[in-house]
Assembly symmetry: C2
Homo-oligomer: 332 residues x 2
């Protein structure tokens, strides 16, 4: 059921088998599996998973390519709720551990916030990443196009950019190095925008020149376009550069600050896991974008199934088999 | 496009980037990703993937729980076809390798079969497993209920069996050992049927007795029920045992005989892979039920995304970045 300020109390003293931090694709898939394993679970979601912004998933097996991320999440929440899973909108502030039990401190409500604690045996961290978008004075101008023809994921949407005039919005020289030459697989018609945020080295300049990619260092005033279709950018000097699509690659922030009290093995900001999603802590599993691997919705959904299944195996083993009591009585 | 006997010829001399053996969930997901990476791919499908038999997927994020496996596969085929992927109904007989190219020999058509060869740089093996079902004289009687309330996958459908009178159809003592005590997590009301196929040890008999599980060794004549709902079994001695659900665990056969000429690392019949699905052969990837891991539709779909992405990375690296030729001309 959906928990809220008014019905929270009756659930506070329950020890959940697993608390899932994050109600995106990975968290919801884990929740569905946990409930179907007859385990008790609570998903805590701050809202607006990365997939929430996707206007069309394009590459998720089983769904029509024009299905939005929002629809996927909506369907997943209904599915989880029909299995009697508990769902709470809130922000996880901290996790502590004592005697094999996790205590999760949650802020509920943005205004007049209330702080509550829930406890669980296992923890699934599925809180993902938040992309840095182009920092403009009018951020609404970015949201107007993000997820439409202004993309944040090359693996997801490279195909949509095929041979189009493409703006690449970089956050650092490293992001140019890492992404632009790969992006050219889909389209070589690339204009790189630094927004004046960093210096570009001489070596990089000549490399870009060699491949014919344009470099624009004047900051951007705003995106141009209509009906969520970006058609170019206007720079602060008033000049206009025509574009047909864009890729924002300005880095991202992991939503994992609540784990800071727990020592977990990382690799470049990502949690290291085994094949079932277990981190270096035996009762913490990481799925989706937080873990080392490919950031794809369908992979996160698979991750959720794996982590939930491993947790079930362990709890099942601890519990032992059930006897058929009625039949034993008949036999006695 | 869908290839068939009449349009095969024009594709025979094409060197595909990847050939995918198997058009189940894993293979279709891989195909969708490959096409979106602007690679050329061919899926070869013998028909009737394991998910084809699932009347309700129950646990696939994004799809209503009553969606059938058949609907998922249908949607996946449409999706792949809309991306201009090539799909051929046929049976892969053998794969050989020469100078970094695979040659795949395919039997097309069950009658008046034709044999054709296709070539590729990479191979994705996604041909899965075929469950052994209860060997009855009238196999139609098994198919009437399989995928409805007669299940083959405990992780998938254990929830549906919760506290029901459950028949466990075993193929060996090992399958009892492995599955029955775990099945009791969902329901302890278990009757084990050996169908007279194997002897049960004294030790196992007393273990089953201790837990109150019934053991039936008389062979089964047929399943009883109507409208695809199995209600019990009739034994060859005419006696009837009432049931509400069933789990068939008689083993399975890997569809991988076509790989026999290639030396691949295995673990108990499954291919060993790395996190991206690569086998011990650098250009052969395994996804879904053929590889070591959990046999779940959503995991296979994730596997497909991973394998396709890794193949793209390698082909992209071999090809190198593209230049923006028109812009270079302007600059020159």
């Amino acid at each position: 059921m959906k928990l809220n300020r008014t019905n929270l109390e009756q659930h506070l003293d329950h020890l959940y088998d697993a608390i899932v931090v994050g109600g995106g694709a990975g968290g919801l898939s884990a929740g569905i599996y946990l409930q179907r394993f007859r385990l008790s679970s609570l998903i805590i979601d701050k809202g607006k998973a990365r997939s929430f912004w996707m206007q069309a998933l394009h590459n998720y097996l089983g769904l029509s390519p024009d299905t939005s991320g929002r629809q996927l999440l909506q369907q997943g929440k209904q599915h989880y709720s029909a299995l009697a899973g508990n769902f709470l909108e809130g922000y996880v502030e901290a996790v502590t551990e004592e005697e094999n039990t996790f205590t999760v401190r949650i802020k509920v409500g943005r205004q007049n916030s209330r702080y509550v604690m829930f406890q669980s045996k296992y923890l699934i961290v599925a809180s993902g990443i938040i992309d840095h978008l182009l920092p403009l004075d009018d951020m609404q101008n970015v949201y107007d196009y993000a997820g439409y023809n202004l993309h944040v994921c090359m693996v997801c949407d490279g195909y949509e950019m095929t041979d189009k005039l493409c703006g690449f919005f970089a956050g650092s020289e490293a992001s140019i190095e890492e992404m632009v030459f790969n992006l050219s697989w889909f389209t070589p018609r690339i204009t790189i925008f630094t927004h004046g945020l960093f210096e570009v080295s001489g070596q990089m300049r000549s490399q870009l020149q060699e491949y014919g990619y344009r470099l624009v260092e004047t900051p951007i005033q705003k995106f141009l376009g209509e009906n969520h279709q970006m058609t170019g950018v206007e720079l602060i000097d008033g000049s206009v550069i025509e574009l047909e699509t864009g890729l924002i690659s300005m880095g991202s922030r992991y939503h994992n600050t609540y784990l800071k009290g727990i020592d977990l093995e990382m690799k470049g900001g990502n949690l290291i896991t085994d094949k079932m999603g277990r981190t270096s802590h035996p009762r913490i599993f990481a799925i989706g974008n937080l873990k080392v691997g490919l950031n794809q919705v369908v992979v996160a959904a698979g991750d959720g199934a794996l982590a939930a299944t491993q947790i079930w195996r362990e709890i099942r083993k601890d519990t032992g088999p059930r006897k058929w009591q009625e039949n034993l009585k008949i036999l006695a």
